[in-house]
Symmetry: none
Subunit: 414 residues, 2 copies
Amino acid sequence: MHNAEIIAIGSEMLTPDRVDTNSLFLTDELNKAGVEVVQKQVIGDDRERIASAVRRAVRTVEFVIVSGGLGPTEDDVTRDAVALALDRRQIFYPEISGAIEERFRRMNRVMPEINKRQAMVIEGAHILPNDRGTAPGQWIDENGSVVMILPGPPHELKSMFSRQCLPRIVRLVPPTVIQTLVLRVAGMSESDLDQTISPIYKRYENPVTTVLAHNGDIQVHLRARCDTEGRAMELLAEVGGQIDVALGDRIYSRNGDPLEVVVGAKLLAQHGTLVVAESATGGGLAERISSVPGSSTYFLGGYVTYAKRLKTDLLGVSEELLKQFGTVSRETAEAMAIGARRRTGATWAVSITGNAGPTADGDEAPVGTIYIGLAGPRDTTVQHRLWPASDRPRVRAFAAQMALDMLNRKLDAA
Amino acid sequence: MHNAEIIAIGSEMLTPDRVDTNSLFLTDELNKAGVEVVQKQVIGDDRERIASAVRRAVRTVEFVIVSGGLGPTEDDVTRDAVALALDRRQIFYPEISGAIEERFRRMNRVMPEINKRQAMVIEGAHILPNDRGTAPGQWIDENGSVVMILPGPPHELKSMFSRQCLPRIVRLVPPTVIQTLVLRVAGMSESDLDQTISPIYKRYENPVTTVLAHNGDIQVHLRARCDTEGRAMELLAEVGGQIDVALGDRIYSRNGDPLEVVVGAKLLAQHGTLVVAESATGGGLAERISSVPGSSTYFLGGYVTYAKRLKTDLLGVSEELLKQFGTVSRETAEAMAIGARRRTGATWAVSITGNAGPTADGDEAPVGTIYIGLAGPRDTTVQHRLWPASDRPRVRAFAAQMALDMLNRKLDAA
C-alpha cells in the first residue's frame, strides 16, 4: 500500500476559526491514485517544528506533501525548514526571479526586493512552475520517498498538484482501482452494530471497513482496493453480503442515500403524500424532508405546533386529552398525527411530541422523552423513546431520524 | 507562552469528506486560558503512529490532548498507544465497568462484553468521568507535561474538557487575560464588510481581528490579550468602538448571540408572539427559532405549506391569487403572512416563499428567488432577494437569515 502524509504550514490554521481544507482536496486526489493518507498535521510558521515533522515523515511514508509558507515574508520558513530537514543547500535561480519580476510587471507593479526569496530552490529539487501565483513548488526525491512543497492558496495548490504532481505520482504507483460500498443503518446503537458486524469485517484487510455514527444515523463504509474493478467488486460483494445478512432490515440504504431520500423515493413510487406535525423538533423534520430536491412532489408540508394552543387550533387535539395525558404523551402524538392527516388529506402524517430540554417544565415528561406518531391509510401507531443524557440539539436530531426510520419501515410494509 | 498540541485519532478524519472540528473548540478554550496551540494532527487508528506522535509531543509541549479512539471496538487503540508511548501499564477498574453497565441498564440494555475495554486506565492517570457517554477520559502527568485523553464525540469531549480539564489547566497556567468582543452583522456581504472595517483593524496587532462569514451571517471577532482585564477592555473599546461606528445598525448583536436569540429576547420583552409560514425553507426557519431553549414562551409554531394546495387550505391564500401572481411572488408572501397571523392570533407572522432550486419548475421564478413577508399589528411588508449563484442549502439558509433580520429590524422599530 502506498501512503502519504500531508503537512500544512501556517499559524492562521491554528486559530479557533480556521481549518485546513487543502488536505481534503489532496486526500481525494491521492486516494484516487491509490495512495492512502495516513497522517496529516498543521504546524505554525516555526522552522524547527516543520523540519522535525518533515524529517520524521520522510522516514515513514512514501509521499510527503508540505503546503504553505512559501510567501516572500520572513514568516515564510517552509523552504528553509525542508532544506534543514533534508540537510541540503538552497540555490538562487535567476530565471525564477526574472519570471516573478515579469509577473509583477504585467500587473503594473515593481517586484519588492523580498520576493527574491521565492527564487531559492533546494539542491536537487525539480522546480514546479506556478501558473497562478509567484511561489514555485518543488519536488524532491529523498531515499525512495518524495517531498513535495506546494503553495498554500487553494487555487495555486490545486492547479500545481493536479497538473504537475499527480502525473508524476501516477508513474510511481501501479494502477489501482478503488470501489466503495456504503451501507446506512438506522434503529441500532453504534456498539450493537459493531458487535454484530466486526466479527465479519475484522477478517478482511481489504476491503477496509469504517463505521461512522452521527445523530442516530450509522454508516458502514467498505473500501476495496484492487488492480481490477472486477476483483474489487467481488471483494465488496463477499464482505458486504455477509454484513447485509447480519444487519437485515436495519440497513435502509445501500448506495449512500440518507433516510430522507430513501423515504422520498418510496413515497414517489407509491404515489403517497406526506405531512408532518412537529412539536419538540420545531420544524427540523420538515426541513430534512424538504431538503431533498423534488420533494414537493410528495411532501405537502405540515404544522409546527410548538404552543399547546396550536395543537388544538390547528390539529384538533382536544383540550381534555391534552389535560388528561399531557402534551408529551402517546395519546397526544396519536391525535396530532390523526389531525394532521385528516386536515390535509395526505396519505401519511408523522407527528413528534416530546421534551428536548434543557429543563422539564412542570407537568411535562422528563428531558429526552419523545413520542412519534404515524397515521396512515390503515392505522395509527405510536413509538416512544427516551434519550436521558443527550442535549437539546441531539434529542431533536435523534427524534427526526427515528421518525423517518419509522415511516420508512411502514412504507416497506405498505 | 504556554503551548499545546492536539492529536485527533480516527481514520475517518483522513478521508476526503471529514474534518476534525474538535480541535477548533479546544483551541478556543486553550487560547482563553492563555495556552497557544502550536501543532495539531490527525492520525488513523494505528497504535505505532499514535505512540510515536505522543512520545514526541510530550517532549516538546506542555499540554498534549489526544482525542478519539476510546470506543469499545478493536479499532480503538488510543489508550493502548498512549500507554505504549509513556511506557506504562493499564489497569482494569471494576467501578468504571460497573458505571458503564449501569448506563446501559438505564437504557434497558445489557452492556456488550467488549465495552469492558473502556474500563482500562493507564497507571498513574487521573480518571475523568464521562457524563455524556461510556468512555472515561484520562489526565496523565509526565515529566512536567500533561497528556489528556478525551473521547471523540464532540458533545462528550466538550463537556469533559470544560468541566474537568480546563479547571486543572487554569491552575497550572498563570493568568493571562483574554477578552473577546464578538459583533454579529446581517444584511451585507463579507467583502463589503471587510472593505469597510479593514482600514480600522489593520492598524492594530492587539486585539487580533478575524472576520467569519457563514450563510449570510457575519461575525467580527476581536480578541485582546493583556496582563490585566482593564487594559484588554480598553483595547477592545478603542478598536470595537470604531468598527461599531462604521457598521452602525448592520450590527445586530454585540455579545455573540445569534439572530434567533436576539429576536427571541425582543419578543419576550415586548410580550409578542410569533408564527411562521414556510414554503421554500420547508421548516428551517421554525427549526432555528425553536432551537433556542425557552422559545415556547413566544414561538407558537406555524405552517409548512410546501404544496400549493396547503397554502390555500391552511393559510387561506386564494387560488386566484396563486394563479395570477404565482406561488413565488410578493403577493403570495404577503397573503401567507396575513393568513398565518389571522389563523393563529400571533402578534407577528413571517412567511417565506421562493425557489431554492436546483431547477426552476415551469412558471416559477428563477432559482435563488426569495420573497419574505412580515405581518404585524400595524402593516404587512414584503422583501425580495435573488441569490442566483447559490445552491439549494445556501438559498434556504440565506432566506431564513434574511427573515430573522427583517423581523429583528421591525421589532426595533415597534
